[in-house]
């Protein structure tokens, strides 16, 4: 019995975290999409798949709160073939599933990697939660936080871990700004104050090509990921 093994922590905390596997192949970049319910996460996933699927091998994990609606929406919209979309149940705790206990999501991710090798990109959509819900670094390599202008233009000012620390902040539904009286300049200034140099994208997924800035950012992350994998 080894109660006294070395004091260094095991590195393989998720048993799959290294970009390059022992056999030399590279695992997919894992990208988390978080943010409140209804902000446009599923719409963003669908648009990313449509924009990138011809160049990249993509899979999606959804964390629906009580249905498999997001997964079914993506299948119905045929943004990817059905075997590329997996749904995870979250026991009424969507933030637990992406942060405190990532085992079900990790399983889903690894299962997709195993059956669809080689994969370039895995998008993990959170079930939608409050402003404090961020992804564990053990689950994703980089994360996007999606809010929208219609839920109040004071959200960037309120901050919270999602707003302040996400690798990309997306402010969606800019098409609605005039209708809900949202002040985009104030939102941008607040976001800059909360996030310093971290990027922010103002988009409208209701507009053709609206996903562009997010797709470009993701493509850059993939390039960096590949550089890291071969370094």
């Amino acid at each position: 019995m080894h109660l006294d093994h070395s004091t260094t922590l095991p590195h393989h905390h998720s048993h799959s975290a290294e970009p390059v596997r022992p056999d030399g192949s590279r695992r997919a970049l894992r990208v988390g999409l978080g943010g409140p319910v209804g902000s446009g996460k599923t719409a963003a996933v669908a648009a990313l798949c449509r924009t990138l699927r011809d160049r990249l091998s993509i899979a999606v994990v959804t964390n629906d709160i009580y249905t498999r609606e997001d997964a079914e929406f993506l299948r119905r919209e045929a943004v990817l073939s059905p075997e590329r979309i997996a749904a995870v149940e979250t026991g009424a705790c969507p933030h637990t599933a992406i942060r405190d206990d990532i085992s079900a999501n990790l399983e889903a991710v690894e299962q997709l990697e195993r059956t669809l090798r080689p994969l370039d990109l895995i998008l993990v959509e959170s079930g939608g939660d409050n402003l404090t819900a961020t992804f564990s670094r053990g689950l994703v390599d980089t994360q996007v936080f999606v809010i929208d202008v219609a839920s109040g233009d004071d959200i960037p000012r309120k901050g919270g871990p999602g707003i302040t620390t996400a690798d990309l902040l997306v402010v969606n539904k800019t098409d609605l700004a005039p209708h809900v009286g949202a002040d985009l300049d104030t939102m941008a200034a607040d976001a800059r104050r909360q996030r310093g140099p971290l990027p922010v994208a103002f988009i409208s997924l209701a507009t053709t090509g609206g996903i562009g800035p997010v797709a470009d950012w993701l493509t850059e992350r993939l390039t960096a990921w590949h550089a890291r994998g071969t370094a």
Partner: protein
């Protein structure tokens, strides 16, 4: 043997996927058989003395060092409902992942390699307890407690019951949990002489039926 290791393993926050499973509670709530504190108590005690006892026996035997693959077969034989079996294997896979990172050991690595599709959760629990330096009775206690605590926690989320009522219930049945754990450990101590047939095989047909029904539902919060 370190008592604190037991606290780590038994902690509801141990990240092994349990929070997404209700142990049949979501289906029981859907069919209105659990709707208040009294029906919650009846459900949890029923599960403890059936599925809980069986799980505790398997956990104790694995903690005593019996072959986990043999015990996995015994667990299959004691789990007739395919949905319940699938959930047990899934939870076993997730526990094994967490256990290997928490208490690294060649035994656990070997277990993961020999059954990539997963081993029943109670068997993994026992093997983990052994790796952590815990005794068979500790593993049995963990399994027995979890058999009641899992659904109790789920009921709080599903029904909006007072969490203090649910916790008081778990304290009230603590003696029964100990009795179940002891009976399971006694049975496990007879496996060397009598084989896995010595292990408890208590079942709850209603849990099997609602487990299958739950798996077929499209709207649900919990995986099982």
């Amino acid at each position: 043997m370190t008592g604190a290791a037991l606290l780590v393993l038994a902690d509801g926050r141990f990240p092994a996927g349990g929070y997404a499973h209700s142990g049949g509670m979501e289906a029981a709530v859907a069919s209105r058989s659990v709707h208040d504190a009294a029906s919650l108590a009846a459900f949890c005690r029923g599960r403890l003395h059936t599925a809980g006892l069986t799980a505790a026996g398997l956990a104790a035997a694995a903690a005593a060092g019996h072959d986990p693959l043999m015990l996995d077969g015994a667990a299959d034989a004691r789990t007739p409902a395919p949905a319940v079996r699938a959930a047990a294997r899934r939870l076993g896979r997730q526990l094994l992942r967490a256990a290997r990172a928490t208490w690294p050991s060649p035994d656990l690595d070997l277990l993961a390699r020999s059954r990539p599709q997963g081993v029943h959760q109670p068997v993994v629990l026992g093997a983990t307890a052994r790796t952590a330096g815990l005794a068979p009775l500790d593993a049995a206690r963990c399994a027995a407690y979890e058999s009641a605590a899992g659904p109790a926690t789920a009921a709080v989320r599903l029904l909006g019951l007072d969490p203090l009522d649910a916790t008081a219930l778990l304290a009230r049945i603590a003696g029964e949990v100990d009795d179940v754990a002891r009976a399971a450990t006694d049975a496990a101590s007879r496996v060397t002489a009598d084989g896995v047939g010595a292990l408890p095989a208590a079942s709850a047909p209603l849990l099997d039926i609602i487990g299958e029904r739950h798996a077929a539902r499209t709207v649900r919060l919990f995986a099982s």
